[in-house]
């Protein structure tokens, strides 16, 4: 590469700070320019490593991520550009390091709002090390058909319509990044296209000046004419005039200085750019346009004539037409295609209970703020997320009562025991909890669903309690929800008493409970401990609740009983207790448990 060239078709760059969108835009540009290799060699992300995945045409490429500039430079000695996406707070140290890195020749600083002094220090450092800075406060620049800095020139559609995928013969430089896009469009329409467009940024002290780029354009034999867009404030344009007068700029230059309207405003005006503020008379746009014109630079009468002036100047060059290359078609991104309703695909998942896509989460259509403001209870939340219904107060209170009742049953039951043993083995909370939960099943806590199912079935079929007991016996099934290891008719389970009492007082009807109690009367005749236990009681009462609250159809009730909702009540409730045991063991610093040999019969 010649000294006057910054970028070629082989340029490789580092991206400082992982920015997925501009990286993809650079690679898309590479693809339509038919580059053989992507222009992004690596990403530098402080504290990061690994790879970033991006598309290069239709295939995917892995771009390495390094934690420091030094590591990246060592691994990629051919990369001589760094596009710095660091914020205005941290752009200085990273740019400084890049300018001090031997293999990096050009640094583009995107950040807007860097302190003046920091930029001035970088300018001096770059001069000393013979490096180029583009920016700060810029979108960057583009060398047609070769290399694009980040987001320069906008969408791929715009790049194609401006023919930036192949070089034309016009060098363009401006302060404004936004207008670079418009000017690529103007130059694309009025000439054979842009060779290179650079936006130096709107700061008072840009890292490189318009003149520096114009001098490069002057040396580059591929560039036949130069277009510049200046603005009020600063004295950049006078440096260009000086160079013109010294005959350092011989190619035709068409230039316009924006900001002629400033004279309409009272006092000093600060336009969009930090540098666009006039103090001295010579910094006004009118004065600059006049001085440029006097030096032999072609200046239109207003921006309105800019395109015509560029066109006439270009035509006078009489350049042969460019052989237009074919432009590869860039595959459409999935998201963009969906947005344009060009494709559709079936979803893999459905969800009907909650939605987190809006500004707050929704439970069964009810926004979080309403839940909080209207004092919804845990029982309400369970009804919404499990049953997709807002149930009456007595029902949600019942759900909560079940949770309170089933939350724990001492350390000796199998679930708690397992959780305690796991916790003492040094396992984390989730593992210990799961160890306990995995014991829940047909013999421990898992009888609620079955109890509900069988009692409901018997009751719905109109079987008498005796018939039901006989029927189960014939099938060889122990009646789920009947029987207790310790409790008996004479020593009733307080929990069952409380539940029965609540239901009788609050439920519109409790025929399934009554049915189960009738069955209990039959079984008690066989043994004193064959009582309706807590699983059975919760099971039948949930069926009563679903059946009587008039929120569910018959089919829905059957489905709910079949799906296993009710064991969920036990799992949810007992998780509270299990976690309590886990924390308790950890708090008490209990050591690993080993079961004693003398408690095991060895055969």
């Amino acid at each position: 590469m010649q000294t006057y060239e910054l970028f070629s078709k082989n340029t490789e760059a580092f991206i400082y700070n992982l920015k997925a969108a501009p990286i993809q835009r650079m690679l898309d540009f590479d693809f339509i320019c038919k580059r053989s290799k992507p222009s992004v060699a690596a990403v530098i992300q402080p504290g990061g490593d690994g790879y970033h995945k991006a598309f290069f045409g239709t295939s995917e490429v892995l771009i390495p991520i390094y934690s420091t500039i030094a590591k990246a430079a060592l691994a990629h000695p051919n990369a001589d550009v760094m596009v710095n996406f660091a914020s205005f707070r941290s752009a200085y140290p990273s740019s400084k390091e890049a300018l001090e890195t031997k293999t990096i020749r050009t640094v583009a600083i995107i950040a807007e709002g860097m302190p003046e002094r920091e930029v001035r220090q970088l300018v001096v450092l770059a001069q000393k090390n013979k490096k180029m800075i583009i920016g700060p406060a810029t979108v960057g620049g583009i060398t047609a058909g070769a290399f694009r800095i980040g987001n320069t020139a906008g969408t791929i559609e715009n790049i194609i319509s401006c023919k930036l995928y192949r070089p034309g013969h016009v060098g363009f430089v401006s302060k404004s990044g936004g207008l670079t896009n418009e000017m690529c469009n103007v130059i694309g329409r009025t000439t054979d296209g842009v060779y290179e467009a650079i936006a130096i940024g709107g700061d008072r002290y840009p890292g490189s000046t318009m003149l520096e780029h114009m001098l490069r354009f002057e040396q580059n034999p591929e560039i036949k004419m130069i277009v510049g867009l200046g603005e009020l404030g600063g004295d950049e344009e006078y440096a260009i005039i000086d160079a013109k007068k010294k005959n350092l700029l011989k190619k035709p230059i068409v230039m316009w200085v924006a900001g002629t309207c400033a004279k309409m405003f009272p006092g000093e005006v600060q336009f969009g750019h930090a540098g666009a503020k006039t103090g001295k008379q010579t910094e006004s746009a009118d004065a600059k346009n006049k001085a440029l014109r006097e030096s032999g630079i072609i200046v239109p009468n207003s921006f309105e004539d800019f395109d015509k002036t560029i066109a006439t100047t270009f035509q006078s060059l009489n350049l042969p037409a460019i052989n237009e290359p074919e432009v590869p078609r860039l595959p459409l991104d999935y998201d963009a295609a969906v947005k344009k309703a060009m494709i559709r695909k079936p979803t893999n998942f459905i969800s009907s209970i909650s939605d987190d896509r809006k500004d707050e989460p929704y439970y069964a259509g009810i926004p979080m703020s309403k839940l909080i403001e209207e004092d919804y209870s845990v029982g309400d939340v369970i009804s919404l997320l499990w049953f997709k219904k807002k149930l009456p107060k007595y029902a949600t209170k019942f759900i909560e009562t079940c949770i309170i009742i089933a939350a724990d049953h001492g350390p000796a039951v199998s679930g708690a025991h397992n959780a305690i043993v796991a916790a003492r083995a040094g396992k984390d909370t989730v593992s210990s909890l799961c160890s306990g939960l995995l014991t829940i099943g047909p013999r421990f806590g898992g009888a609620i669903d079955d109890a509900a199912r069988y009692f409901k079935d018997g009751c719905d079929k109109g079987m008498s309690a005796e018939q039901f007991v006989d029927d189960m016996k014939k099938k060889g099934i122990l009646i789920p929800g009947i029987g207790h290891r310790i409790k008996s008719a004479k020593n009733p389970d307080k929990r069952v008493e409380l539940l029965k009492e609540y239901a009788k007082k609050n439920f519109p009807s409790h025929k399934y409970l009554d049915y189960a109690l009738a069955v209990e009367q039959v079984t008690l005749k066989k043994a004193d401990n064959l009582i309706l236990n807590v699983d059975g009681c919760i099971g039948v009462l949930f069926v009563d609740l679903f059946d009587s609250c008039s929120e569910f159809s018959k089919e829905e009730v059957s489905e709910m009983v079949e799906l296993g909702y009710l064991n969920g009540v036990f799992v949810l409730a007992r998780s509270i207790g299990l976690m309590g045991h886990v924390f308790d063991q950890k708090r008490l610093k209990q050591p690993l448990y080993r079961h004693p040999w003398d408690d095991i019969l060895f055969l």
């Binding site: 001035r120 450092l125 559609e157 207008l179 000093e268 969009g272 750019h273």
Partner: protein, 425 residues
């Protein structure tokens, strides 16, 4: 954004408090700031905080970034506190016209009157590769008449002032050696302060030796780089950047400024001439300046109603609020053409922002018709085809004359068209 001047009171206080840590301990400035509140409580708080006010001879002048104060009879010299109070009471709230801009007096700086003989000029200016220290032994109001006496001391950006022989550079000025020594050490400390406090410009005019032999900046202008805020936050503690003198805001401008504060996008509005016929609703910081330029360059600056821009991908609601404000101003009096312009957007979704504008136009149908407003649209960028199509449809729907162009038409062509139409009206 970028360079901002601060009140002389704040500048003096900040300098006096901090110069010591840069190796010059002899600057102790007494300075007080009177505002409307001071008049209200009859200066009680001010006296509590600045007891010297009652014992010293005073100087009072407005402290609102107004240049050339002396020439407006606004400096009270060598007064006692009663005189100062009377002066402030008389002038507080008074309207003053400076170079065609009128503003209200709201702040006054009060300092001890310093007896002195020679007046000097000292400034530090930022340039691309260096800071330049400027010194003249003929300071005061007529400093510019003695510009040839200016001594320039460059301090390269990567150099340290400690390595600069300031005293020697002061060369030819006639000052006894001890005073020259003092001045040199003052300048060195001042430059370190200049660097450390994010200053872009400091001017002391006049700077003088008091009869007691102390260096005192009698006038002090300080301009800070507000981009250095994140580095200087604690040093600038509590500093506020006053509004430009005399710029009273229209309620619509204030409303847009509030909108602008609340969003990550950029929304700007300046009313230039409420009776104007040409109104701008333009996207983009750079493009908006060029549209405004073009109106002026084509000779219709006096008909221009506003300057403004929206950019940085504002959402539909923000664009609606902004457009509504501009359209309302445009239809209030003589508005005849509305220019909905913009360059080829980088990533702003043209269709989305147009939705906001369309909503505002639809609501203003009656007003637009009453004014016989003609609308000109030009825009490019993501989804521009859809945006332009919506605009065309709206023109028909509202029965309002509208011309719509895309990126194939030169950006400011619609200004020319609008002016041609307007001149015919």
């Amino acid at each position: 954004m970028s360079r901002k001047k601060i009140r002389e009171h704040d500048a003096k206080k900040m300098l006096s408090t901090n110069l010591g840590r840069y190796g010059y301990a002899d600057l102790q400035l007494e300075v007080a700031l009177a505002d409307a509140g001071s008049v209200e409580d009859n200066f009680q708080k001010l006296i509590r905080e600045n007891p010297w006010l009652k014992t010293k001879k005073l100087v009072v002048k407005p402290d609102q970034l107004i240049g050339k104060k002396g020439k407006h009879n606004l400096v009270l010299l060598n007064a006692d506190f009663d005189g100062a109070k009377k002066f402030i009471k008389e002038n507080m709230g008074k309207t003053l016209e400076v170079q065609g801009i009128s503003g209200v007096l709201t702040h006054f700086i009060i300092e001890p009157f310093v007896e002195h003989k020679e007046e000097y000029f000292l400034a530090i200016v930022s340039k691309r590769n260096e800071d330049t220290i400027l010194f003249s032994d003929k300071g005061g109001v007529d400093v510019e008449e003695h510009w040839d006496r200016l001594i320039q001391i460059p301090v390269p950006i990567d150099a340290n002032i400690s390595d600069t022989d300031v005293k020697n550079s002061l060369g030819t000025i006639s000052l006894p050696d001890d005073k020259k020594e003092k001045l040199a050490s003052f300048i060195k400390a001042l430059h370190k302060y200049f660097v450390d406090f994010g200053c872009t410009y400091i001017e002391m005019n006049p700077l003088a030796f008091s009869n007691g032999g102390q260096l005192v900046p009698l006038g002090l202008v300080t301009e800070l780089d507000d981009c250095a805020f994140f580095k200087c936050e604690s040093k600038w503690a509590g500093l506020e950047f006053p509004e430009q003198f005399g710029r009273k805001k229209y309620p619509e401008e204030e409303f847009v400024a509030e909108l602008d504060d609340k969003t990550g996008a950029s929304l700007k509005l300046t009313v230039i001439n409420p009776d104007g016929k040409i109104w701008l609703l333009v996207a983009g910081g750079g493009a908006s300046v060029i549209y405004t330029d073009t109106v002026v360059d084509l000779g219709y600056g006096k008909e221009l109603g506003n300057y403004g821009e929206y950019s940085g991908d504002p959402n539909e609601e923000e664009t609606y609020q902004y457009s509504k404000t501009v359209i309302d101003l445009a239809t209030r009096k003589n508005g005849k053409v509305l220019i909905i312009g913009g360059g080829v957007a980088n990533f702003t979704n043209v269709a989305n922002t147009f939705k906001g504008i369309i909503r505002a136009l639809r609501e203003a149908k009656a007003k637009l018709q009453k004014n016989k407003m003609q609308i000109y649209v030009r825009r490019g960028g993501p989804n521009f085809e859809e945006g332009l199509k919506m605009m065309k449809g709206l023109g028909k729907e509202l029965d309002i004359p509208m011309e719509v162009y895309g990126p194939e038409t030169h950006m400011t062509k619609i200004v020319e068209l609008a002016i041609a139409h307007m001149s015919g009206v």
